[in-house]
């Protein structure tokens, strides 16, 4: 990775003063060991008119992987570092920022032992970074540097000229020009390079806040993107970011936690689809579900596909729900739910009401049998249509709870989401979204097959034309139905069309029961 700093001058104020400021002699090439490779400093040009210092950091890619200890827990903080093929040797990342801080430490502090007055002087600076990874693109680069008084030129680099259809990469060639204090420029780079990259090569500890505040002195507090900067610099550790912002006396911003778009982890996430003010749809949905469960007089409830456990938390607030089981196929989601619900710190009596475990509705599961109610909230649309019959059998046939509450998006309503491009589903992992008619058709067929009756309710504002944003079906098990249940036949799950409980039945055989089963002619008289 590579960076040049150029300044101009004349005989009275020679550009080569840069060498004093950087504390590096323009006539020599110097090398410095850093924790991840070797930093080289040299001057491609050094005249009174124009002086350029270059920092070239040679990263050892093999050491990067080997030291990272692989992926996952205890491994590299940045997944890219666990790959032999990664851009770190080329792109200006936190590695370069740290090297900058190490190699030019006195300049960054604004000290110049030989010529103290130099450090106080604004210089015409031109900083070139040929490859800057910029999550957020050239526009974000502009938003970050322009408010600091830089003239920004950010040119996106194409991914591969041989394949023009691939478009641009996330890298830009960056040129910053402006009259600045060198120390400010270096400290801004130190903070903003990792912010643009949105990654760090080391685990972020609480002292990172101090680093941010130290380097941000004089320019960060007034920066319009300070929230984004704090959030990304602190590797999205919210508590740290809040701390940093609080300490910047920006409590006002800290309150509005969580609006920054996070990377979608669609197993964990529940709420991204359509939250809009004032009452988020997710809240409406939970209210509707809890209402339906209360109306059904359910006490022992399954939340199938519980995600981060928002509904489980809601149910815990009402003691009429005596047993609440959250099931999800994603262990990460369950961990997040456990953390949010603070299961480990809950009182024993309270904790006894709730259980979370991994499960999958692609399989029948004995643990799910015998509950009053099951909730499938925003779950079915995450299952491939072709595999839905297996879920139907697992829930309605095998688990066979008294009540089943199903919610799913109403695709007709999508035209009302201004932010949603036409023809797009609300969530990248949605395998389908149903119209009201499609949902009713599906629910009716399922109810019929497994011995339930079904009612439909709108959730959210019921638009006269396109209906509500979320549609809900409440299934009730027929009191009279003897079929279905855990012993139900398997045909239904094997073929959605088949609907025959006949194979359960004994064919014409004596209706008698064994009269005296203990009389076993031979076994009994074995003695």
């Amino acid at each position: 990775m590579f960076l040049t700093i150029t300044t101009t001058g004349h005989d009275d104020v020679p550009a080569t003063d840069l060498g004093f400021l950087l504390h590096k002699h323009p006539g020599r090439a110097q090398r410095f060991s850093t924790s991840h490779g070797t930093a080289h400093v040299f001057y491609p040009e050094a005249t009174a008119e124009r002086c350029t210092a270059a920092l070239l950091l040679e990263v050892d890619p093999v050491a990067l992987v080997r030291r990272g200890g692989g992926k996952g827990r205890g491994g590299a903080p940045d997944a890219a570092l666990a790959q032999y093929v990664n851009d770190r040797p080329y792109a200006a990342s936190s590695l370069l920022a740290v090297a900058l801080g190490g190699v030019f430490s006195s300049a960054m502090k604004g000290k110049c032992a030989a010529r103290p007055e130099l450090a106080e002087r604004r210089l015409p600076l031109r900083i070139e970074l040929p490859v800057v990874p910029a999550r957020g693109g050239a526009a974000l680069v502009e938003r970050l540097f322009a408010p600091l008084g830089w003239t920004v030129t950010a040119r996106p680099l194409p991914l591969d000229e041989r394949f023009p259809e691939w478009g641009d990469s996330r890298y830009v060639a960056l040129v910053l020009e402006g009259e600045q204090l060198l120390a400010d420029a270096l400290r801004q780079l130190y903070v903003l390079l990792p912010v643009l990259d949105d990654a760090k090569h080391y685990w972020v500890a609480p002292d990172e806040v101090d680093k941010l505040l130290r380097s941000g002195e004089g320019w960060l507090a007034a920066h319009p993107e300070r929230r984004l900067i704090a959030d990304r610099f602190l590797a999205r550790r919210r508590s740290l970011a809040r701390d940093a912002l609080d300490r910047l006396a920006l409590a006002r911003l800290a309150e509005a936690e969580g609006a920054e778009p996070e990377e979608l982890d669609n197993a964990v996430d529940e709420t991204v689809d359509t939250e809009e003010k004032p009452v988020p749809l997710a809240v409406r949905r939970r209210e509707a579900i809890v209402g339906a469960l209360r109306a059904a007089d359910a006490a022992r409830v399954l939340d199938l596909g519980c995600g981060q456990g928002q509904l489980v938390g809601e149910l815990l607030k009402d003691t009429r729900f005596t047993e609440i089981v959250g099931v999800d196929v994603s262990v990460r989601a369950l961990r997040e739910a456990s953390r949010r619900l603070r299961l480990d710190r809950m009182h024993e009596r309270q904790a006894a009401r709730v259980r979370l475990f991994q499960g999958s509705l692609a399989y029948t599961d004995r643990r799910l049998a015998g509950y009053d109610a099951a909730v499938l909230s925003e779950v079915v649309e995450h299952v491939d249509l072709a595999r839905l019959p297996a879920l139907e059998h697992a829930v309605f046939g095998a688990a066979h709870p008294g009540t089943v509450v199903v919610t799913t998006p109403n695709v007709e309503y999508n035209v009302r989401w201004e932010s949603l491009p036409a023809g797009h589903v609300r969530h990248a992992d949605h395998r389908f979204e149903w119209t009201r008619q499609e949902f009713r058709g599906w629910a009716g067929a399922v109810a019929e097959r497994y011995g339930y009756t079904v009612e439909f309710r709108p959730v959210g504002p019921d638009d006269p034309e396109v209906g509500p944003p979320t549609q809900m079906a409440v299934f009730r098990r027929d009191a009279s139905a003897a079929s279905g249940g855990p012993a139900s036949n398997s045909a239904a799950s094997n073929s959605a069309a088949s609907d025959s409980p006949a194979s359960n039945h004994a064919a014409p055989n004596p209706g008698e029961t064994p009269a005296d089963p203990d009389t076993t002619p031979k076994e009994a008289k074995a003695a």
């Binding site: 001057y43 040797p89 990469s169 399989y363 039945h505 004994a506 209706g511 002619p521």
Partner: protein, 908 residues
């Protein structure tokens, strides 16, 4: 254990007092303190078979005589005894057991586990007990009255022991008799594991003597008749044994005739027979008990009236002698009348007998007033095949390793037999409807080929999968938890996810200058394993694909539940659908099916489907995202940085700054980065647009175009290179030698080429495509013992990779081999090309210091993993071939995915 012997049916040896004990039973020693129970137990039973109350007292209280710990001690004793009995192990309880309450708890325990309780009473004079206790320091203080109380309680108990529920009671009186006694372990009557057949298992006959004679004839039995021409025996020339699942009698025209034949066969040792509920009822009638003459019993009684009393007596004795079920063929086969859950196999209790004869019911009755049967077979997971009858079904089908052979012969259906171990079904149609059924035959056979739905317990938790080729293979809970998410959220429907390819180890790390992998290592390794002939196959530049191709979409839907209109399925190596667009999948699979047809392989292999292991190209088709986000991004970054850095260094050098070393180094790095970009670029090419062309005939406009440009089906650029045929209907082909494999595949490719060559000739009903979908796999056979041949192999690889090839895979030509030590030989190792490895190990991996570090790679784990996954893959294919239920195939497929998954801890 010196006196412990097994005799077939417990015939006591003369001379000594031998006590018969079933080899699976709960043996309860009864005797006062000091009566010598522990000594007796030590002499006749293994230490681990004996549970002593004193020891349990010690376990919970550190004092073997602490009476205050008695309740806890017995909890422990019962718990351990329960675990042993559940596992089918004989267990001896060494406690005084003189009180009825103590024995009652043990009898209950025995019944819970369906084993026989046996009492052995040691009745020793009070003085002897007292003397023995006095000799033991820890018991010396025991008051005499305790012994006296024990003696009193023992006396009171003696008469009641049988009534309490002990199936055998042995009373040994006096120290001498105890000293002289021996124990004989007798085999349970239902334990015929030592009989290995082969067997012909016959379904419910119900008096259909003529059909039975026809069936036995078709099975190859020669029927012997008495002087009145009545069949009295049937013998198979190859010594096969017939096994009847019961319900020989009632409803049909000649129950006595059936009995006569079957009794003759059983008595002559040519057949085994288990009782049905109809025999049980007839037996009670013959014993003079009052039973209702319903369900066809009246007809049997009437027919028996015509027989002489001796025949009726013989029939009665025969019925009394029948054992509820048999465990056969080393435990692989269980035969009973109405089906039996695994926990009852080989067990002996009233409950087991009742279940074997009548099956399990839910307690409900259906609209015909008949009991609703509990579908036990859906829950069945046992290793043993359970063959049964009782419930008439239109045709016999396997469900979870169980099969019902009652195909309603008496109701005008057919009489069915199962050949074991061949698992072939043989049937003869009923000559007529002999008896009107009370309700129509069930429309659906239970389960069908899929068996019951997949259950979470089939895949989660720590699992051990039994494999034919590598024994028991463990899957960790953490791996299963990770795989569960992938399988549930992203994988294809398990019903057409029949195989996942194993990971493949690279060849041993090369010391050759500039190379991390080199074929010399692969050849040497196989030579060391004693493998002479290996085949080098080019490694295609695509993504692994497992291709299920069916003759047509209809076959695919019926057999594998594939989506409408698609003749098969294509999945990635982690089980995901390969192509997002079903239309592209449909076209591609249709093209493959046409070539299979053209090659005549459907007929030749006797199948309507094939499972292919293949590579689907280009890599960019599936890995486009990875290529762009990781590889192309690295290329873009390198292209951005080096021109600027080199220019700066050159300026500095021009100024006389000493940067020569750094400049040279940066130039090398720039060259490496360029080579890297070239390497990944070879994997990317555009593919056709599936929205064009297909289906239907070309438009007149298209016809007017020059030949060779007509008829595009949107698959241009997509190439499928099959390199192995994994399976066809009823057979796993994974062990077919690779030359044979490739010959079959070559024929498919030739068929496609031939079809393309005919483009301009308007013959045939189907106009062929001009583009090719199938790609050949270049190969070279190398003799690892022949230096010249090895050198040719190395050269072949060098040429291949120099021309931009990815590398090659070296496999034993025989496909499936074992080393001298008996272990599996690696089914293949990869030797990747020097340039290709830049994509794996980074652009600069070839630099000497990088290579030195990369050579320090540990392949042991990878090799072991490759073998385990290989064995699991073979297992999935074998289970599929054997027609085993879906969950069994899925178990092995899931295990491969689990082993390939990064573990996650499911415990919160």
């Amino acid at each position: 254990m010196s006196t412990t012997t097994i005799t077939p049916h417990g015939a006591p040896e003369a001379g000594v007092r031998t006590l018969a004990v079933p080899d699976l039973s709960l043996v309860v020693l009864v005797g006062a303190t000091g009566s010598g129970k522990s000594t007796f137990a030590v002499r006749h039973f293994a230490p681990t078979e004996t549970l002593s109350s004193d020891v349990c007292r010690g376990l919970v209280s550190d004092d073997t005589n602490d009476q205050a710990a008695t309740a806890d001690a017995f909890d422990v004793l019962h718990y351990i005894a329960g675990k042993r009995l559940a596992a089918g192990r004989l267990t001896v309880v060494d406690a005084t057991n003189v009180q009825p309450e103590a024995r009652k708890a043990l009898i209950r325990l025995a019944r819970e586990h369906d084993v026989l309780p046996v009492a052995i009473v040691l009745d020793v004079p009070e003085e002897v007990c007292a003397a023995r206790n006095a000799a033991r320091p820890d018991r010396a203080a025991l008051p005499r009255r305790v012994i006296q109380r024990h003696q009193r309680e023992l006396r009171r108990s003696l008469r009641h022991l049988e009534r309490e529920g002990f199936r055998k009671v042995h009373v040994l009186r006096g120290a001498e008799e105890i000293e002289a006694a021996g124990i004989v372990r007798e085999r349970r009557f239902n334990d015929l594991r030592h009989l290995t057949g082969p067997f012909d298992i016959v379904g419910d006959v119900h008096g259909c003597r003529a059909e039975l004679e026809s069936l036995l004839g078709r099975l190859g039995y020669a029927i012997e008749r008495d002087d009145r021409g009545r069949p009295v025996d049937a013998v198979h020339p190859a010594g096969r044994t017939a096994v009847f699942v019961g319900d020989l009698v009632d409803r049909g025209p000649d129950s006595p005739g059936v009995l006569r034949l079957v009794m003759g066969m059983v008595e002559a040792g040519h057949a085994l027979c288990v009782p049905g509920n109809h025999e049980n009822k007839l037996g009670r009638h013959l014993a003079g008990r009052t039973v209702r003459h319903t369900h066809g019993l009246a007809e049997t009684i009437e027919q028996l009236e015509a027989e002489d009393p001796e025949f009726r007596e013989r029939a009665h004795a025969f019925i009394r002698s029948l054992v509820s079920h048999y465990v056969l063929d080393g435990g692989a086969l269980v035969v009973c009348h109405a089906g039996l859950p695994e926990k009852y196999h080989g067990r002996t209790s009233g409950r087991v007998r009742s279940h074997a004869l009548y099956g399990d019911t839910t307690g409900e009755t259906d609209e015909f007033g008949l009991p609703v049967r509990y579908p036990w077979a859906e829950d069945y997971r046992g290793r043993a095949a359970v063959v049964y009858g009782h419930t008439p079904v239109p045709s016999a089908t396997w469900l979870n390793n169980t099969i019902c052979l009652d195909t309603g012969a008496v109701f005008g259906g057919k009489l069915t037999a199962l050949r074991w171990p061949e698992r072939e079904l043989v049937d003869v149609p009923a000559e007529r409807v002999w008896y009107e059924p009370a309700r129509p035959l069930a429309q659906d056979a239970p389960g069908g080929t899929d068996g019951r739905p997949l259950d979470l317990a089939d895949v989660t938790g720590r699992r051990v999968v039994e494999t034919r080729h590598m024994g028991r293979l463990a899957v960790k809970e953490e791996n299963a938890a990770a795989a569960l998410e992938v399988m549930s959220r992203f994988a294809a429907d398990p019903r057409h996810l029949l195989y996942l390819p194993p990971t493949m180890a690279p060849c041993a790390t090369s010391r050759e200058d500039g190379y991390l992998e080199h074929p010399a290592e692969a050849f040497a390794a196989y030579r060391a394993d004693g493998v002479r002939q290996v085949v080098c196959q080019e490694k295609h530049m695509g993504s692994r694909a497992v291709v299920l191709v069916c003759r047509d979409a209809e076959t695919a839907r019926e057999r594998f539940h594939t989506p409408e209109g698609v003749p098969g399925a294509i999945v990635t190596r982690t089980g995901r659908p390969f192509l997002d667009d079903p239309e592209t999948a449909r076209r591609l699979l249709t093209r493959v099916a046409e070539s299979v047809e053209g090659a005549g392989l459907w007929q030749e292999l006797g199948t309507d489907w094939l499972l292919l292991d293949a590579e689907l190209m280009p890599w960019s088709l599936k890995a486009g995202g990875l290529l762009r986000h990781q590889y192309a991004a690295v290329g873009a970054a390198s292209r951005g940085v080096f021109p600027a850095a080199l220019a700066a260094l050159e300026s500095a050098a021009a100024r006389g700054v000493d940067v020569e070393g750094l400049l040279g180094h940066q130039r090398d790095r720039a060259a490496d980065a360029t080579a890297f970009a070239e390497a990944y670029g070879r994997y990317c090419w555009p593919v056709g647009d599936p929205s064009r062309g297909w289906p239907g005939e070309p438009s007149p406009d298209e016809l007017s175009r020059p030949a060779g440009t007509r008829r595009t089906d949107g698959l241009d650029g997509i190439r499928l290179a099959p390199f192995q045929i994994l399976a066809a209907e009823g057979r796993s082909l994974a062990r077919l030698p690779h030359d044979g494999q490739l010959a079959l595949i070559d024929r498919m490719i030739e068929a496609e080429e031939l079809a393309a060559a005919l483009t301009n000739q308007p013959c045939g009903y189907r106009r062929p495509w001009t583009n090719r979908v199938l790609a050949p796999t270049r190969r070279l056979v190398v003799d690892t013992e022949d230096e010249a041949s090895v050198a040719a192999g190395v050269r072949w690889w060098l040429d291949l990779t120099a021309a931009g090839g990815e590398g090659m895979v070296v496999k034993p030509l025989q496909a499936y081999l074992r080393t001298e030590g008996g272990g599996l030989v690696q089914p293949g190792v990869k030797c990747r090309g020097r340039e290709y490895l830049r994509i794996v190990y980074g652009p600069e991996y070839t630099r000497p210091d990088n290579l030195a570090r990369l050579r320090n790679r540990h392949l042991g784990h990878k090799r072991s993993l490759a073998l385990r996954e290989y064995a699991l893959g073979l297992e999935a294919l074998d289970r599929l071939a054997d027609g085993e239920p879906l969950w069994r195939v899925h178990e092995a497929v899931f295990a491969v995915l689990a082993l390939e998954s990064e573990p996650v801890d499911p415990r919160l």
